[in-house]
Symmetry: C2
Subunit: 402 residues, 2 copies
Amino acid sequence: MTAPLHEAHPAGPGRVLPDTQQGMRRRNLARVMHSVSAEGPLSRAAVASRIGLTRAAVSTLVDELIRTGLLEELGPERPGRVGRPGSALAVSGHGPAGIGAEIGVDHLAVCAVDLRGQVRARAVRHGANRGCSPEPVIEELTGLVRRVVAEAEREGLWPAGLAVAVPGLVARDARTVVRAPNLDWRDTDIGALLPTDIPLTVDNEANFGALAELWLGERTPHDFLHVSAEIGIGAAVVVAGGLLRGTRGFAGELGHVPVQPEGPACPCGGRGCLEQYAGEEAVLRAAGLEPGEDRVGLLAGRAAEGDEDVRGALREAGKALGIALTGAVNLLDPESVVLGGALAGLAPWLLPSLEAELDRRTAGPACPVSVSRLGPEGPLLGAAHSVVRAVLDDPAAVAERA
Amino acid sequence: MTAPLHEAHPAGPGRVLPDTQQGMRRRNLARVMHSVSAEGPLSRAAVASRIGLTRAAVSTLVDELIRTGLLEELGPERPGRVGRPGSALAVSGHGPAGIGAEIGVDHLAVCAVDLRGQVRARAVRHGANRGCSPEPVIEELTGLVRRVVAEAEREGLWPAGLAVAVPGLVARDARTVVRAPNLDWRDTDIGALLPTDIPLTVDNEANFGALAELWLGERTPHDFLHVSAEIGIGAAVVVAGGLLRGTRGFAGELGHVPVQPEGPACPCGGRGCLEQYAGEEAVLRAAGLEPGEDRVGLLAGRAAEGDEDVRGALREAGKALGIALTGAVNLLDPESVVLGGALAGLAPWLLPSLEAELDRRTAGPACPVSVSRLGPEGPLLGAAHSVVRAVLDDPAAVAERA
DNA sequence: ACTAATTTGTAAACCGCCATGACGAAATAG
DNA sequence: CTATTTCGTCATGGCGGTTTACAAATTAGT
């Protein structure tokens, strides 16, 4: 598959395709898919008025999409309006499916999502992967993928792509894990290890989490900052409905924004980086806890019980986050900041000091901070949905493979 | 003219036009213009191979562009290659011109730039505008514009648009100055005051400066951070060849990134903002100088003479800039950082400490920092060129007005 | 010098895609 | 039960790029 990566710029149906009539047709097919997908069942006439084509043109586009199994005719609408009722069109629930997979530090998960966005199959395996060599882990993952694909196929779906979320840095080829500190993996070519003919994409779990927020979040805007803490503290920058990746793919390293220029030294070479104040280790240390398994759950539990040491540590972390985010917000002027991943669970204790800091340092109304309701499912869903989006963005490409 | 503002997303010829055959034609006209403009004189065949259309198609496109006066046929090429030589095409030097204007704190300037990028007419008026009410200033500006337009017309050009750079915040309508502290203007509708029928755009001078760097800089990449200090310290974020403006148009406020969380209070409400260390006033104070006219020139002069107080102040400013930029670079992973505007002149004394700070705080190779060679001309040229780019981006629109 | 090969630009025929306009179908309004 | 409205489709047409063919202009080779 040619780059289903959701970059910042070719967002949505405005993809760059050769400007010939075929390209035009492809883009218009995409626009039909997007409008039906976004606005529920729609008649041909409704689609036409939305995307600015004539009913006749939309008719032929829809015909093609139905023939290739991407759209379905639900039958006549029954509205109270005058005139002949339209025939409702919906995105197919029996066509291509996006397979999402997640390699977590202590679990593996796979799911299949249909074009309607429904999760139709899933499989999970708990157990630590930390320190395991890639081969057995990916072998297990392959098994889960097979099970999920088989289940999806029983429901009439076929896998259009496989997207894998990993807790680490991924090379620009979207196949190789450059470095995954929490797994102790380096330069691992997932593509080579995963025996499947489904088109594969690999990306950072934080990126997929942010995309999930963008696509699935309830009132998520087009431009926001998605902050998560899995490996270090990462901020995915979403601009105009796309992810900003940076020239080397390193964008979003909020964890190494200086918060206190002469603060404690950081492995990155800097001093007083955010991670020295709000990173997992730093917070555990400040709370007087030992690093271990499920550290985030531990923190949340203690905080909920009222442990003042933990709460104080989280307050300080929130403050540091607020300072770093002030800088980011000043630079990017996003519509909102969303706390996701592990931070979502700790939000109740982070938010007050975080928002206070942001507020006090901002002239005028401060940037609103919200908490993701996707929770730990974000990256997995984002991965699966990235495949679905790729199909919506270029249905013709997928039709050829069907 | 509908929004010739160069936003981050619809960058270059990939503008969003209705996906009908006419839109296709318009986009292809734009692609021809862009390729001829970017790669010097080109034959039809060369253009065709570059933009991926057939020679026949390009022929008709070129015909249309020649008819409307946007392209010129220079005559046969004389290359040493086999085969019939092509006929060289160049962007017209007698068609539309972009009129750029700048309202500075102590000068007014206007220039006309043809499609080839050549400055064909200019007018300047020195003298302080600080504290003057908008009406007389803009009346004077109007006079300069008229003179420049008249001179351009004598050379066979016609004004396709007028872009005005102002030292202040501009509303999203691209006509009204919300606040220009150094001029003491507020909510000034430039469009209403400037009696001309040339399509008008108003934008911040820092934005135009960054765009100038993007379009005219020698080896400027597609993604960079352009830092300038005119009113406060601003960083224009250029992503994929477009300006990132933020939801409210406030993006790039580097001046209020926290550098020392408990540093001196800033009028913005924060503490230890970059401006408290590297802002004009702060540097002058640290150098033991009085604020006055041409403060930047004064600083540069003293520093060049070897004044250690001044040099020390600039060293400290560079350090603070380095800290703030570390954050920005971590967040955005740009290809480079460019110092422009007033900072360009002070670069020799800012750079060492700035780069040292950036280097020391970055793991791996630090983001390269360069200095704009456009100097104080940047905003004016950027303004004029923004009109030229708008013509290249949609030649059909301008052909209708010709 | 003369032919072969190569490349350019254009013209004619063709195909694909959307717009236009007309029509039958299916609902509501009176 | 008729007039009106809206939907989906069909036939026609225009527009835009491609394909194919060809003349023009140059270099390479003998």
